[in-house]
């Protein structure tokens, strides 16, 4: 039993990180009906941008977020406005394949620009822990991840529920035609929604970069985590995304504990496939 509680605590905190990895994917799927296969790669791109700032300016990775957030918003906005909006329609395949193309382009661009070596965003926070008892301590970095993730998700929820733009986005998502009649520029709202989604991906990328090592090819791994969280939690529910993150992270950490570290990812996938087969709408999903 030794360390089991520690593992559970780590798993729960990691779940928060997984939730912010997934929230952008979930939001954009809910609004534009698009699975953004480039989500993970854009996250890793943000991690590299942050690394670039950290090495050239010598500042803490957390501070780089102030630059990352607007930059990633712009990336998402442009991506949706000038590329993805053009292929939105009845069929789901063309946007899926365009996003896939973007994913491969971003990945190979990073491979050329930043070499295939493993990188991480080191800071003085990396090794700090917060002792809670003789066998129990909380890694400060995990705690920061969790708190920022929670803050971003609540902030996004508030934005979509209470601001004029947020209402416009939801209206365009429920009925694009009626929204247009009410004077909403749906093209623009979709682009803003994608901007927000990629902005959360940017925050997630910096947090992931601070917590783990990353490579140009790490994107798909996080895309699958994000997709897993969305599937487990159910689409379109912020609470579900959070719970999904916790379940997936716990499954991985406990899987690593009982079967060996090599099986960490496999346990996550197995849980995911079981949920998909038994309850395709997710644990908290509606319908």
């Amino acid at each position: 039993m030794e360390g089991l509680i520690q593992d559970i605590v780590n798993g729960l905190l990691l779940g928060g990180l997984y939730a912010i990895v997934a929230i952008g994917l979930s939001t954009i799927f809910g609004i534009v009906r698009l699975v953004n296969l480039a989500h993970g790669d854009l996250m890793i791109l943000a991690a590299y941008l942050s690394l670039f700032m950290v090495t050239s300016l010598g500042i803490s990775p957390l501070l780089t977020m102030f630059a990352i957030i607007p930059v990633m918003f712009a990336v998402g906005y442009v991506l949706q406005r000038f590329l993805l909006n053009r292929v939105l329609g009845k069929e789901m395949e063309p946007p899926l394949l365009v996003a896939f193309g973007v994913s491969i382009i971003v990945q190979n661009f990073m491979l050329m620009a930043f070499t295939p070596d493993a990188r991480s965003l080191m800071s003085e926070l990396s090794l700090m822990t917060f002792p809670l008892g003789p066998d129990l301590s909380i890694p400060v970095l995990y705690l920061i991840d969790f708190c920022i993730a929670l803050a971003v998700i609540i902030g996004l929820h508030y934005f979509l529920q209470n601001t004029y733009m947020g209402r416009g986005i939801r209206a365009a998502s429920d009925d694009p035609y009626a929204a247009k009649l009410m004077g909403i520029n749906t093209q623009n709202t979709y682009a803003v929604a994608m901007g927000l989604a990629i902005m959360t991906a940017g925050v997630a990328g910096v947090l992931v970069g601070m917590t783990f090592t990353f490579y140009p090819h790490s994107g798909p791994q996080y895309l699958i985590i994000a997709f897993g969280v969305v599937v487990i939690g159910g689409l379109g529910s912020m609470k579900g995304t959070f719970v999904g993150g916790l379940i997936l992270a716990l499954a991985q950490i406990l899987g690593a504990r009982f079967f060996g570290p090599g099986y960490q990812l496999l346990c996550g996938y197995v849980v995911l496939l079981i949920v998909l087969a038994v309850r395709p709408q997710g644990i908290l999903g509606r319908g």
Partner: protein
Amino acid sequence: MLIALTLGLGSVPIWGSEYAMLFFMLFCIYLALAQMWNLLAGYSGLISLGQQSFVGLGGYTVAVLSSYYGINIWIGVVLGGLASVLLALFMSLFIFRMKGVYFAIGTWIFAEALLVWFSNWAYVKYGSGLFIKPSNDLSMVTIYYAAFVVGAGSVALVYILLRSRLGLGLMAMRDDDQVSETLGVEVFRSKLYCFLISAFVTGVTAGIFYVFQIFIQPYKAFAIDWTVKLVFMVIIGGIGTIEGPILGALIYVVLSQFLAEYFSVSMLILGGIAIVVILIAPKGIMGTLQEKLGFEVLSPRRF
């Protein structure tokens, strides 16, 4: 024209150099794989991002059977195809409950799970990979003919399939799922057949590819890169046409030979072309040509 092309391709070992043989062998292999992705995505409405599951399983079956048990390599290749069919049947229990995008990601997750499993499996020497020793004795010409058989065979197979009852049903289904079901097309069963057929051919083709490569590793064999290439080939060539994958495979092999040392650059270019094609000519090069010129070499139409 078609017969001339087939004869030309079939006689490469007679007139071609060593390099031409390598080039056309890769072409045949990618052609077969792309044709199978096209059968799923272009005709059955199943976007699979998990073709690498069958590539890896096909390759590993040959490797294990021939190096561990001394079984004839070509029997191993066919058994690799059968193993892929079994895997596809097992996968279908899960992923055939999913639709569209869920199906796409479900197949991908399966492949990722297999990657992790094989790289943690002592029996196949973890991530360090296996050598297919017996294939050292094979000549390049033999392997070339095997590749030629699957390459030409895959085109013929898709052609025959599409002109059969199954194909008619498939195309009706692609155009409208529900209407065709009311008209008596067995949607579920037709899709499953296509999935199994594509698994078989993909497994066999991968087996031949790894017989040529001699060495197999989970990080390469189960990599999403396989499906990435196939998607680009089919989209650029023309999704939902038989000729599309032929052209797409040719473009890919030419580009990858020219940029052999810059794999990233060739992927950047292919990704860029694919996006442009989806934006301006969603039917791909062949599909657009067919529409404009009304010219079809291999028409699945019966009337």
